[in-house]
């Protein structure tokens, strides 16, 4: 057998490629502060965003995925970019005004301790990255995608260096603890953490480590993201793994979890050629920044975005539910009954919780209603699919 795309000895045909378990095949790849721990746990490492990352541990992706939805999964997401914006006025307020020039989101009105999903746009309204922004009191705390962090930093510096201080935080690791038991686990270590609600954050001590914790994540489950100094990360991870509900989870399950949750993966479900309106992310476009808001526009690409909000778009991101059992993956073309191309799948695979294939893609707007029947063209066969509402699995965020 061979990886799709050529006749070769079996390789892990992951999208990202494979790194041998015993060591690095590429001297260029970085390691996270948990690298030794991953190896001890028997992780299969792959290159991702310039790092060696665990794609799975010994139990495999399906078990790791289900464990996260049933108990508590611990993820190393230290490859992501963490950035502090400060200054430019009282209490980081200047930084908020500055950042508003780069995102279609209300940052000035984001209260202390609150977190918001945001998008960097370019001057055509295309999405440069998606990120989380938190008001940490005297600064804004940003988390951006690992694969984009160099470009995002350059983007911030290009536009905002005259208006605020931009500090990347390479000495911080990032862990995620996700699942219905995550809060019980963390509350055992730091009782106050159970009180945080979804999309709020606090600086707390966990097992002796100084952490900045938000109640958010990328799985659709209740959970937390924990920014911790790199020097304390392994000890904290071991402490969490010592709790009976917690298991280590790799990037493979991270992807299947977010896909079932209907969450976008930058570079796949959105890119610089996709606007927030096309990506069905209008909910992220704050009222305050819309045409009739308190601070309309004023960000890169605002005219294009507001025009689309007013007049609509030609294509939209939707959920795609295959009717059969074959997974339908990124790149598969969506067609009508005459074989005319209507769009394509941008993320797809098997959903361990749904027990079936799930996917997301872009489709001509006229075909975007849930329940619409389409075909998907794969290996010379037409597979019936239907447009589905997202998420595939109910969101279980803790709102208090």
């Amino acid at each position: 057998m061979a990886a799709a795309g050529g006749r070769a000895a079996l390789s892990l045909s992951w999208e990202f490629g494979a790194v041998s378990q015993s060591g690095s095949q590429s001297g260029e790849l970085k390691q996270t502060p948990l690298h030794a721990l991953h190896q001890e746990l028997g992780a299969r490492m792959v290159p991702f965003a310039g790092y060696q990352m665990p794609v799975q541990y010994r139990d495999g992706i399906i078990k790791e995925h289900r464990h996260t939805r049933n108990a508590a999964g611990l993820f190393d997401v230290s490859h992501m970019g963490q950035v502090r914006l400060s200054g430019g006025g009282r209490g980081g307020g200047g930084a908020a005004a500055a950042l508003e020039r780069l995102v279609p989101v209300d940052v000035i009105g984001l209260a202390e301790g609150r977190q918001r999903y945001a998008l960097f746009t370019n001057d055509h309204g295309g999405i440069l990255d998606d990120l989380m922004v938190t008001n940490a009191g005297d600064h804004l705390f940003l988390v951006v995608n690992g694969a984009c962090k160099a470009q995002d930093l350059a983007h911030l510096r290009q536009h905002l260096s005259a208006d605020c201080t931009i500090e990347p935080l390479p000495e911080q690791a990032l862990l995620a603890l996700q699942g219905p038991q995550a809060a019980a686990v963390l509350a055992r270590l730091t009782p106050g953490l159970a009180e945080l609600v979804f999309m709020t954050a606090a600086r707390v001590e966990i097992a002796g480590a100084d952490c900045f914790v938000s109640r958010s994540g990328y799985t659709g489950e209740d959970g937390f993201e924990i920014s911790v100094p790199a020097a304390r990360a392994e000890a904290l991870a071991r402490r969490l793994l010592a709790e009976p509900e917690v298991a280590p989870i790799g990037l493979g399950a991270r992807d299947s979890l977010r896909l079932e949750a209907g969450l976008c993966l930058y570079g796949h479900d959105m890119d610089a050629e996709t606007t927030p309106v096309e990506a069905s992310l209008t909910w992220a476009l704050s009222k305050a920044r819309r045409r009739d808001g308190a601070r309309p526009g004023g960000y890169l690409g605002a005219e294009a975005v507001m025009d689309q909000l007013a007049h609509g778009v030609a294509r939209r991101r939707v959920g795609i539910r295959p009717e059969g059992r074959a997974p339908l993956r990124e790149g598969v073309e969506l067609i009508d009954e005459d074989g005319r191309a209507l769009g394509r799948i941008t993320s797809g695979g098997f959903g361990p919780t749904t027990g079936a294939p799930v996917a997301m893609g872009y489709i001509e707007t006229a075909w975007a209603q849930p329940g619409t029947k389409l075909g998907a063209s794969l290996r010379g066969k037409v597979h019936p699919v239907e447009v589905a509402k997202l998420p595939f699995v109910p969101q279980r965020y803790y709102r208090g």
Binding site: A2, L10, W14, G252, R325
Partner: protein, 125 residues
Amino acid sequence: MSARRYTEDHEWVLLEGGTVSVGISDHAQEQLGDVVYVELPEEGVTFAEGDQAATVESVKAASEIYAPVAGEVVEVNGALSDDPSLVNSDPFGNGWFFKIKIADADAVAKLMDENAYKEYVESLQ
């Protein structure tokens, strides 16, 4: 030593009379990870050696399976459509893929035996 033979693509082949059963090795299923779907050939289809015969999908990606020997598909393992995880849990038994009525018994003898395959897998690590 078992009569099983192996290809460099990690398929196993077991000759019984004029028919071979085909599956993938334990090494292959372990490398693939959790199998979620298997696409099998139709009964009656004839393959040349090396023709693409089946597809096995893990959570992350699809991998092709090639006919290890030439012949006609006489049976496929229907159990895999209800439970693709058999490929992981029982790759040499209930996780078999299909059976080929072969034209040439020598084609099987040319493949690696158990020891040669073990060495081959080691050479890949």
